[in-house]
């Protein structure tokens, strides 16, 4: 095999990397090895070619371009603080059939906001602003913030 390669014409030799004129030198950027010519640039044209090649080399210390945006819950996103007097807002997190507060896997709130919301709902119900066993009829047709039939994690109801 080697013998046959050595016998190849020069034009073909430059295509095959592990022949005389190139070597496995320099940088292992991003884990992969980089092939570079070790031949000294002989003319201006060669130098320009070298420069153009360097532009195509992998960029060091680059941010991960595939990193996702940090997800935020709807209350944190719009900086809403749930209040026990705001029955219209609180009713959006309650089942219209049973008045139960939907869980975190349905509402998609962070733990702190969900705890705060539940506290305000209990206050509101206790103070006589909000019903216990159903959603206020005036708010039933409000826009939906989430779909209870498609939770993040499965649930038993």
């Amino acid at each position: 095999m080697y013998v046959t390669l050595l016998l190849l014409p020069r034009r073909l030799q430059c295509i095959i990397p592990h022949m005389r004129e190139t070597s496995r030198s320099l940088a292992t950027l991003g884990g992969g090895e980089v092939w570079r010519s070790t031949v000294e640039p002989q003319s201006e044209l060669d130098e320009e070619i070298q420069k153009a090649r360097m532009k195509d080399m992998p960029v060091e210390d680059m941010k991960n371009p595939f990193e996702r945006e940090k997800a935020q819950c709807i209350l944190c996103q719009y900086k809403i603080v749930p209040d026990y007097k705001n029955v219209k807002l609180l009713s959006q997190f309650v089942s219209p059939y049973t008045g139960q507060i939907y869980g975190r896997h349905i509402t998609r709130l962070c733990a702190a906001q969900q705890a705060r919301l539940e506290k305000e709902i209990f206050k509101s119900q206790s103070a006589g602003f909000m019903p216990y066993y159903f959603k206020d009829v005036a708010y039933v047709k409000d826009p939906k913030l989430f779909d209870p039939d498609r939770p993040i994690r499965p649930h038993r109801f």
Partner: protein, 147 residues
């Protein structure tokens, strides 16, 4: 003195009666050494559920909210005084707190379980527990009985 908020549900009354009731509730705060910062009228409407107070069932009520400053020691007396008032159907005193700032942790929580910190902690804890193993104390390195 901390800020408080009292949510009142008053029974439906004529206007002069309502005014006298509100004056009475406000005076109760002043008499306890408090200051009223704000009075809000949230309207008269149907109650979300029937409320019985002072021997009668209410289905309609007027909502009022008082924001006030008052020594904490007099809070119990205030609550008790409102409880005796026949025109007040329901009263709840809440402390007004400035909402604390926090970072949203949703991106941590919606990760798959193996990447969640609380799950990793739980797994680690479960490994720590050394389970009880029965010892024969027979001085033998094998079990002499049928196993």
């Amino acid at each position: 003195m901390p800020n408080y908020e009292v949510a009142l549900v008053l029974r439906t009354m004529s206007r002069p009666e309502l005014i006298s009731t509100l004056r009475r509730t406000a005076d109760a705060i002043f008499n306890k050494g408090g200051i009223i910062r704000k009075v809000e009228n949230l309207g008269t409407r149907n109650l979300p559920y029937k409320m019985s107070a002072h021997g009668s069932v209410h289905k309609q009520g007027s909502y009022f909210v008082f924001q006030f400053i008052c020594p904490p020691s007099s809070l119990h007396n205030l609550e008790e005084e409102y409880g005796r008032d026949v025109d007040i159907v329901r009263r709840r005193i809440f402390k007004m707190e400035t909402p604390e700032e926090f970072e949203c942790t949703l991106h941590e929580e919606i990760k798959p379980p193996a990447y969640r910190k609380d799950v990793q902690k739980m797994i680690e804890e479960s490994k720590k527990i050394d389970k009880y193993k029965f010892k024969y104390n027979s001085g033998l390195d094998y079990c002499p009985f049928q196993k």
